[in-house]
């Protein structure tokens, strides 16, 4: 079994392997049974959204939520999880969220049966970030965040491999800053390049980022139609 959990922030961390862009891993997994590669792709993108969803929906503490998330992905490998996905009914993202909900509810009920003879009681957890969003909204938001985090990792690795450190540095200074964005002129002065070069470097990095977002999604969607729908949900 692949090692899915090191800690709740390690999943989907830096890596140097590009996801497949030629075919959908879901299609391959549905045809030939679940593979480590397919589950790896799915887990990298969905581990955090699932974890946050379980914490919020079932009010689990950090450790319980991690255990449940881990158990869910482990069970997905053993069952016909990919084969029973029907793209005509829902997106894979929705299918997975509903599967998590069923799985976590069953596990939760079983645990409570053991403890109390069947009575389900959700315990409040104090250390969750305060939010007014529903668990479903948090799930989608975390999915977007993880998708872009993975794509940014891809972009960083790609930039380093291809000698494109300058474009990435400019992109980082402009698009990833938490502070006020610098002007193109200021960036041109900082890196001693022409202002038009700043525009071109930014365009390159954004284009590549879109490509990596698309590639990540392609791995976990059933085909072009679902891919385009998911791209629309991921991007504004």
């Amino acid at each position: 079994m692949i090692d899915l959990v090191r800690d709740d922030t390690a999943i989907g961390g830096p890596h140097d392997r590009f996801p497949s862009t030629r075919f959908s891993l879901l299609e391959a997994a549905a045809a030939s049974g679940p593979s480590n590669e397919a589950l790896d792709q799915v887990a990298k993108l969905y581990w955090k959204p699932v974890y946050r969803y379980i914490r919020l929906k079932f009010r689990k503490d950090n450790e319980d939520a991690k255990d449940l998330t881990q158990s869910f992905f482990a069970a997905a490998l053993e069952r016909d999880f990919f084969a029973s996905f029907d793209p005509a009914k829902a997106s894979f993202r929705t299918y997975l969220r509903m599967a998590v909900e069923r799985f976590a509810a069953n596990q939760h009920a079983a645990a409570n049966r053991q403890k109390r003879g069947g009575h389900i009681e959700f315990e409040p957890v104090d250390d969750q970030p305060a939010t007014t969003a529903s668990p479903e909204q948090v799930f989608e938001r975390e999915w977007q965040r993880q998708l872009f985090t993975l794509a940014l990792d891809d972009l960083r690795s790609h930039s380093e491999r291809c000698g494109k450190r300058l474009p990435f540095a400019i992109f980082e200074s402009y698009d990833l800053t938490e502070d006020d964005r610098p002007s193109y002129a200021a960036l041109a002065a900082r890196y001693s390049i022409a202002e038009t070069s700043v525009t071109n470097h930014l365009a390159w990095a954004r284009r590549m980022l879109r490509g990596f977002v698309t590639a990540r999604l392609r791995g976990v969607t059933s085909g072009d139609q679902e891919l385009n729908q998911e791209l629309r949900r991921a991007c504004i």
Partner: protein, 275 residues
């Protein structure tokens, strides 16, 4: 690396924007979203004019080129098609100033004006059908009324468009008769509440669940509307006798008044002669 909400939203925005590097266009603003892509206002730097730039979600071939070749006053002309550096297909089209049909229609428009809109849409549709192109997603949001009252049919569909439920024909495989269904739904949409029953019947016939019970083509539907406008019986409705008489009366009002006046004079003369 943790992406904050503000950085995440910024990234979501910048990767969605079309990459116009190396093209003749400069992005201005987003002006609409359709089933297959996003439309932006842009400036053509070479010709120094504003254009509408439709950036498609999916790569389209074949039919898209066919649509680009359609030349009709009711179809927005496409200046150019191409591929952006990020792989997306785009169309550069004439930027039309106007209002969407659903926003254009209000209580002040006469039935005649509403039927003019349907006629113009139907003419564009008939032209496209004659070139083997079907729309697949005809609805008020896809129709633009220009500043001179001209009507444009936008968002010509391709295979993957699912259609909009209220205007979409029930059959799973869409063809020209599915567009006739949508045109009938559009007629029902533009008609006022107390619409003439003949027009309602035309709409209902066009919207028959069975495609073979609909009009065979768009010109047949338009011909029925023209018959209504000329005060003639329409194919879609076998009208009751009293309605037929009333229609005959309103269509031949002058003649009837003349006959009545003649009869009155004759009666008066007859009455005077027998005094």
């Amino acid at each position: 690396m943790h992406l904050s909400d503000s950085v995440l939203d910024h990234l979501r925005q910048v990767v969605a924007l079309p990459d116009l590097t190396g093209t003749r266009y400069e992005l201005e603003s987003e002006i609409g979203r359709g089933g297959l892509g996003v439309v932006y206002a842009a400036r053509d730097i070479q010709l120094n004019r504003r254009v509408a730039l439709k950036v498609m979600d999916a790569a389209l071939t074949g039919e898209a080129e066919l649509i680009a070749r359609l030349e009709h006053p009711g179809i927005v002309p496409i200046h150019e098609t191409g591929t952006l550096p990020d792989g997306r297909i785009f169309y550069a089209m004439k930027l039309v100033a106007g209002s969407r049909l659903d926003l254009y229609l209000d209580a002040s428009q006469s039935v005649a004006e509403r039927l003019r809109v349907i006629r113009r849409v139907g003419e564009a549709l008939a032209y496209a059908h004659s070139h083997g192109v079907i729309h697949r997603d005809l609805k008020p949001q896809n129709l633009l009324v220009g500043e001179f009252g001209e009507i444009y049919v936008m968002d010509w569909g391709v295979d993957r468009v699912a259609g909009t439920p209220a205007f979409r024909a029930p059959e799973p495989r869409l063809d020209q008769r599915s567009d006739i269904y949508s045109l009938g739904a559009l007629l029902a949409f533009v008609l006022p509440r107390a619409a003439p029953p003949a027009l309602e019947a035309i709409s209902q016939k066009a919207m028959s669940a069975d495609p073979t019970a609909r009009y065979p083509d768009v010109p047949a539907l338009l011909a029925d509307i023209a018959r209504f406008e000329d005060g003639l019986p329409v194919q879609a409705w076998s009208e009751p006798l009293w309605h037929r008489l009333r229609r005959f009366g309103s269509r031949n009002a002058v003649l009837l008044w003349l006959v009545a006046a003649y009869a009155a004079v004759k009666f008066l003369l007859f009455f005077l002669r027998n005094l």
